[in-house]
C-alpha cells in the first residue's frame, strides 16, 4: 500500500495523471489551478514527458487535440474563464471522438468573475459547453483523494469510450490539502486502429476529423456517438449514498457543497430529522436512477450548490418532479456554511422552505 502524503488537490490531480500514464500536459496560468501547471513543469522533464506553457487556453486545448490524435494520454487544466476559451477545441475533440482530460478548477463568474470557489460551470460542463450535440464524461471530486482517483478514472473512461472527460473541481478542492494515497496504476497503452502516427506505408491513411459536409453522414456519426453515450449512462454512473436507508428528506450535493452538506446532514440527524444525501460523483452521466428511486421514498429534495441553481434542474428531471426540490446556495465565491444548509434542511422538514 502506498504511503499517505499530504497534498494540495491540484497537485494530487497532476501526480495522479502522471501515474495514469499521462506524459503530455499543456496549460496556461490562471488562478486557482496554477499549481497543476507548476507541478507538471517540475515533473514532466524528469520523466521524459512534455510540459508546455501554451500561448493561450485556445492553443493549449488544440495541442491536446493534436496529442489525442496520436492515442497518447494527454490533459490540460484551467479555471472557468479559461475553460470557456477551450470550448471550441473541446467540441472538436468530441467531434473527432478522441480521449482527453480537461480539468476545470472552477471560480466564480460570469465574465472575469472572481477567484474564489464556485460550481457555476455545471451547465457548461454537463450540457455540452461548446457547439454541437455532445457530452463530456464529467466527474466531481469531493476530497483530495478523489481528485487523484477520479483523474485516473477519467483517463480510463475517456480512452474506453473515446470521449473527452472533464474533472470538475472548484477552488477549495484545488487549494485544500488532505492525506492522499496515490495508487499505482498499471497502465499499458493499447493498440488503437484510429491514431495518426504515420501509415508506415502499411495501411490507408487515418484522418482525425470532425467535418462531415454530407448531412446524412454527420447525422450517422452523431447517432453512433449517442449509442456510446447510452452505454456510458448505463455503465458508468457513480454516486455516494449517505444515510439514505430510512431518509425522509434527501440532500443532493457534489464537490465542496457535499462536504458542507454532510456536516449539516449529521447535525440534522442529531436533531431527529431523517435526512440523507445523494452525492453525484459523475455529473454526466447524472445519477438519475438513485434520485428517481429516492423520489418514491422521500418527501422532498434539497439541492445544495455554489451556483444560482444549475444541478437542481437535473434533480427535478430525475425525480420527475414527484416531490418538491428546494435550493440552498451561495454564489460568487461564497460557500454556504453547514449552519445555512442545516437551516434549509429544517425548513424543508417543516415543509416551509
Amino acid at each position: 500500500m502506498a504511503e499517505k502524503v499530504l497534498m494540495k488537490g491540484n497537485e494530487a490531480i497532476a501526480e495522479a495523471a502522471i501515474k495514469a500514464g499521462c506524459r503530455h500536459y499543456f496549460g496556461y496560468p490562471i488562478t486557482p489551478q496554477t499549481e497543476i501547471a507548476a507541478y507538471m513543469a517540475k515533473r514532466m522533464p524528469k520523466i521524459n514527458g512534455v510540459f508546455l506553457q501554451a500561448e493561450s487556453e485556445i492553443s493549449a486545448i488544440n495541442m491536446v487535440y493534436g496529442v489525442a490524435g496520436t492515442g497518447y494520454r494527454v490533459m490540460t487544466s484551467s479555471s472557468s474563464p479559461g475553460v470557456s476559451l477551450k470550448q471550441e477545441g473541446i467540441s472538436y475533440i468530441a467531434g473527432a471522438d478522441l480521449p482527453a482530460l480537461i480539468v476545470n478548477v472552477q471560480r466564480g463568474g460570469p465574465g472575469l468573475g472572481g477567484i474564489q470557489p464556485s460550481q457555476s460551470d455545471y451547465f457548461q460542463a454537463t450540457k455540452g459547453g461548446g457547439h454541437g450535440d455532445y457530452h463530456l464524461i464529467v466527474v466531481a471530486p469531493a476530497s483530495v483523494q478523489e481528485m487523484a482517483d477520479l483523474t485516473i478514472l477519467s483517463f480510463d473512461l475517456a480512452e474506453k469510450y473515446r470521449v473527452p472527460a472533464m474533472l470538475l473541481a472548484d477552488g477549495t478542492m484545488g487549494q485544500m490539502m488532505e492525506p492522499v494515497e496515490l495508487p499505482e496504476v498499471d497502465y499499458k497503452p493499447t493498440e488503437k486502429d484510429w491514431t495518426v502516427t504515420g501509415t508506415q506505408m502499411k495501411r490507408k491513411h487515418n484522418i482525425v476529423n470532425s467535418l462531415y459536409l454530407s448531412p446524412e453522414e454527420l447525422e450517422r456519426t452523431n447517432f453512433e456517438r449517442f449509442e456510446r453515450y447510452k452505454q456510458i449512462e448505463e455503465n458508468e454512473v457513480r454516486y455516494e449514498s449517505f444515510m439514505m436507508d430510512d431518509a425522509e428528506y434527501c440532500v443532493v450535493a457534489f464537490g465542496i457543497a457535499s462536504r458542507v452538506s454532510k456536516n449539516a446532514v449529521i447535525a440534522a440527524r442529531n436533531m431527529g430529522i431523517k435526512v440523507g444525501m445523494i452525492r453525484p460523483i459523475t455529473l454526466w452521466p447524472f445519477p438519475v436512477k438513485p434520485i428517481a428511486e429516492a423520489a418514491d421514498k422521500v418527501k422532498a429534495f434539497l439541492s445544495v450548490e455554489l451556483s444560482m441553481g444549475q444541478m437542481i434542474e437535473d434533480v427535478k428531471l430525475a425525480s420527475e418532479c414527484k416531490k418538491p426540490v428546494y435550493l440552498c446556495n451561495r454564489v460568487g465565491g461564497m460557500i454556504p456554511t453547514p449552519e445555512q444548509v442545516l437551516e434549509s434542511i429544517k425548513k424543508m422538514a417543516g415543509g416551509e422552505n
Binding site: F26, I58, Y65, G198, T199, H205, N206
Partner: protein, 249 residues
C-alpha cells in the same frame, strides 16, 4: 522521355478546387517533397479551415483536420508526442495570419520543429471572397467593396518579414507559383522546409504567393498576371531567414 506522374503521397481523390486555382500545384509540390524524402509513412499533416479544409482527403499520409487557425498548436501537440514523425501544416492567409496569428507566432518563436505551408492568395476563398489580412491596399473584396481602406481596415500583414524578426524560427521564405521558374524555386524551398525538420533544425515556414481567379473575378491567366504585377511587388519573393545558412557563413 519525360513521364509525368502524380506523386505517390497524393491520394486518387479528385481535387475540389476551382479551375485555375494554384492550390493543386502547391499540393503537388508538398507531395513531391514527401515522396522525394521518402517520409510518407511517418508524416502527419494538419489541414486548416478554408479552401484547403479537405486537404486531408488529398494527402495520402495520416491527417488531422484542425479548427480555424489552430493548426500550428495541433501540429505542436503531434510533434511533441511523436518527435520522430514529420509534421506539417497547410494553411491559408485567413487561417494563419488572422484568426491563428497567435498560434503562428508562438510556434515560430518556440522554433517548433514543424513545417508550415502558408498559402497567401490575399482573400478568404472558401467563404466567397472577403477581405483577408493579406488583401492589398485598395483591393476590392466582398467586405472591402470600395477597396481596402488602410485608414479604417489597416495594412496587409507581411507574414514572412514579420516572422523573420523573431530569434526563434529556422527558415522563412516566400515563393510563388505563377510561372515555371517560380514553381521550381517553390519546390526547392518546400523540400528544404521538410529537410530542416528531418534534421531537427526547427520551424520552417514557406509562404506561397498564390492566386484566386474565382474570388478575384479574373480569368486564371489574368490572375497569374495580377500575382506578378500586384502581389509580388508588395510581397517580394526570397529567403527571409535561414539561420543555419547564416551560421555557416
Amino acid at each position: 522521355m519525360v513521364v509525368f506522374e502524380k506523386p505517390k503521397s497524393l491520394t486518387d481523390a479528385e481535387l475540389h478546387y476551382c479551375p485555375g486555382c494554384t492550390h493543386g500545384i502547391i499540393h503537388r509540390l508538398v507531395a513531391q517533397a514527401i515522396d522525394d524524402l521518402g517520409i510518407e509513412g511517418k508524416t502527419v499533416g494538419v489541414a486548416p479551415v478554408g479552401c484547403a479544409v479537405m486537404a486531408y482527403n488529398y494527402f495520402a499520409c495520416d491527417m488531422v483536420e484542425a479548427a480555424h487557425g489552430r493548426a500550428p498548436a495541433v501540429a505542436t501537440g503531434l510533434k511533441r508526442a511523436m518527435p520522430e514523425n514529420v509534421i506539417f501544416t497547410y494553411q491559408g492567409d485567413g487561417d494563419l495570419a488572422s484568426i491563428g496569428m497567435a498560434e503562428t507566432v508562438h510556434a515560430a518563436t518556440r522554433n517548433e520543429n514543424i513545417t508550415v505551408i502558408f498559402v497567401n492568395n490575399a482573400i478568404y476563398g472558401m467563404t466567397g471572397g472577403q477581405m483577408a489580412p493579406t488583401s492589398l491596399p485598395g483591393q476590392v473584396t466582398q467586405t472591402s467593396p470600395y477597396g481596402r481602406d488602410v485608414a479604417t481596415q489597416g495594412y496587409p500583414v507581411k507574414v514572412s518579414e514579420m516572422l523573420a524578426t523573431l530569434d526563434g524560427p529556422e527558415f522563412i521564405a516566400r515563393v510563388a507559383v505563377n510561372n515555371v521558374k517560380n514553381v521550381k524555386e517553390a519546390q526547392k524551398a518546400i523540400k528544404k522546409a521538410f529537410e530542416n525538420q528531418i534534421n531537427n533544425k526547427g520551424f520552417s515556414l514557406i509562404e506561397v504567393v498564390s492566386s484566386c481567379p474565382t474570388n478575384w473575378g479574373m480569368t486564371p491567366v489574368d490572375a497569374l498576371k495580377w500575382v506578378e504585377e500586384k502581389m509580388i511587388p508588395y510581397y517580394p519573393l526570397g529567403v527571409y531567414k535561414d539561420r543555419s545558412a547564416k551560421e555557416a557563413e
